[in-house]
């Protein structure tokens, strides 16, 4: 029986959202950028977007910096590495501490070993962020096994948005394959997002994610983050066929808009999870699963 009803968590706010957004976007950006670079000589013609090598570690560092606003004693940050084997925050910090210098060194003095180290650290950081949220057992909408996968697909979706933006900034000629990668990432993230929204029929979960299922929330998370960029990416893919030449101002505008909406949509997704669905579990005094009131309509109502 739920004796104490749910309330919203007030511990993690916008700094955490910034960290999760920048962390996912930057690691996705780095990994996808690396894939594109590795394909440069074979599949892709023209110059690949190199901005990721420096921008990704910068964004990661900004994400961690945002957390110092929220932490009570940020100057004790060196203690965060003490529980690598058990805490996902420790692992995230370790991955960040490896990734940032490795990526910068690889930018200054490119070397395959350093690049692999940075790529592995980026992947670890992306995964660890999902597990951080998943292991928060007091928050029913976060404590969902799907969360790591959601964070990974979200990271790649935002990362591909940044890849598209870097295509515009670098004036690279790899827009078509980048758009294809972006479309795949957006569709994957959209699928996992819908899966998450319908994950459980448990009353506490449904109540927690109710805000994410409202039309005004879906406009941002699905409309802005998936549908609009999806349409724009399709336009990029068929651009020559509809009279939009690659490299023109209109083409650049469409690519940039797709990139911006993918990043903004990803941010709204993270904000929705952390701030909108961050309800603490109600206090339950029984061992049976689910909401007893839902199972038995005659069950008495609780006032707390």
């Amino acid at each position: 029986m739920q004796l104490v009803q749910t309330g919203k968590q007030k511990v993690w706010g916008w700094p955490a959202v910034a960290n999760f957004t920048l962390g996912g976007a930057a690691t996705g950006f780095y990994l996808l950028g690396s894939v594109i670079v590795s394909l440069q000589d074979s599949a892709l013609a023209g110059s690949p977007p190199f901005a990721f090598k420096l921008l990704a570690p910068l964004l990661i560092a900004l994400g961690f910096l945002a957390l110092t606003i929220e932490a009570g004693r940020p100057l004790r940050g060196h203690h965060l590495f003490r529980h690598i084997s058990g805490s996902w925050i420790s692992l995230e910090c370790l991955a960040g501490a490896i990734f940032v210098p490795a990526a910068v060194i690889d930018w200054l003095f490119p070397h395959p070993v350093v690049w692999i180290l940075a790529a592995v650290a980026a992947m670890a950081l992306m995964i660890s962020q999902g597990f951080i949220v998943y292991r928060a057992r007091a928050v029913s909408a976060w404590n969902v096994p799907l969360m790591p996968l959601l964070f990974v697909t979200s990271g790649f979706s935002k990362g591909s948005g940044l890849v598209l933006l870097s295509v515009v900034l670098d004036d690279s000629a790899v827009g078509h394959p980048c758009a294809m990668i972006g479309l795949i990432c957006v569709l994957l993230n959209l699928s996992v997002w819908f899966l998450y929204l319908s994950w459980s029929r448990e009353a506490t979960f449904r109540e927690a994610i109710e805000a994410l299922r409202r039309p005004n929330a879906l406009i941002f998370t699905v409309g802005l983050g998936h549908l609009l960029p999806g349409i724009l990416l399709l336009v990029i893919l068929v651009a020559p066929g509809i009279g939009i030449d690659t490299g023109t101002g209109l083409w650049h505008t469409v690519v940039a808009l797709a990139g911006v909406t993918m990043v903004a949509g990803g941010m709204s997704q993270k904000a929705g999870i952390i701030l909108g669905a961050g309800y603490l579990r109600g206090i339950v005094l029984e061992r049976s699963k689910g909401d007893a009131r839902a199972a038995n309509p005659a069950f008495p109502k609780v006032l707390c």
């Binding site: 029986m1 004796l3 104490v4 968590q9 511990v11 993690w12 957390l67 929220e70 932490a71 009570g72 004693r73 940020p74 004790r76 940050g77 203690h79 965060l80 590495f81 003490r82 529980h83 058990g86 805490s87 996902w88 925050i89 420790s90 910090c93 951080i132 292991r135 928060a136 057992r137 007091a138 928050v139 976060w142 603490l280 579990r281 206090i283 339950v284 005094l285 029984e286 061992r287 049976s288 699963k289 007893a292 069950f299 008495p300 109502k301 609780v302 006032l303 707390c304």
Partner: protein
């Protein structure tokens, strides 16, 4: 080695909140942070019952807070008491989001520990400075328990060695003792009464039991 635990008789608790007040005074914490009494009730006829649910840290056998703590500031003693090393805590708040009992809190520098009112930032001489910006929670009045044991007293039986909330309970609803000792008061109460624990389905193995005999509206099951 003992495993300290608490048994709370929900039939006896009258919601006077004496336990929360003495907790504030003993541990110098703002009201309703380390300990609180939830006022719950059943509204529909014919049950119409009122229920008070005292809560604090459950000192879990499998503490979710300990698992997630990145600095190892949260630790579990061999006697089952889950405590925090304030020197290591960075105040990230992750343990607060991992604890399904809402038992943890971070005091920010504007809080006055005794009244909860907003005051100026305390100076370095403030005795509570080491607890500002870090996570804190009930520790079963660990200093009292340890000091009592050092004197050869028995926590749960000797007031001087027992948590302040237990000895101040006006209805004698709170009981403290060794859960691993079959003859202790708490073991006997668990054995002789129908008890339940909070958030049982999460598998945290809390050390706080609630006596729910005579409360059919709770639909509780024996732990």
């Amino acid at each position: 080695m003992a495993r300290w635990g608490m048994v709370i008789d929900l039939r006896k608790c009258i919601g006077c909140k004496a336990c929360t007040v003495v907790c504030e005074e003993t541990n110098q914490v703002p009201p309703n942070r380390w300990r609180r009494v939830n006022d719950c009730g059943i509204s529909e006829y014919p049950e119409r019952q009122r229920l008070f649910l005292p809560m604090s840290c459950m000192h879990c056998g499998e503490p979710p807070c300990l698992e997630v703590c990145p600095t190892t500031a949260t630790y579990r003693r061999p006697d089952g008491i889950v405590d925090i090393n304030y020197e290591l805590c960075v105040g990230c708040g992750y343990c607060i989001l991992a604890c399904p009992y809402q038992a943890r809190t971070i005091f920010h520098d504007e809080s006055n520990f005794e009244t909860g009112t907003k005051l100026q930032k305390p100076g370095l001489a403030d005795p509570n400075i080491d607890r500002i910006g870090v996570c804190t929670k009930c520790n079963f009045c660990l200093p009292r328990v340890d000091a009592g044991l050092a004197k050869g007293l028995q926590p749960g039986l000797d007031p001087e060695a027992s948590p302040a909330c237990v000895i101040s309970c006006s209805a004698n609803a709170l009981n403290f003792g060794d859960l691993d000792e079959p003859d202790s008061v708490v073991s006997r109460l668990i054995r002789e009464n129908k008890t339940a624990r909070l958030q049982e389905e999460l598998g945290t193995d809390p050390s706080v039991y609630y006596i729910v005999d005579g409360m059919p509206f709770l639909e509780c099951r024996e732990s």
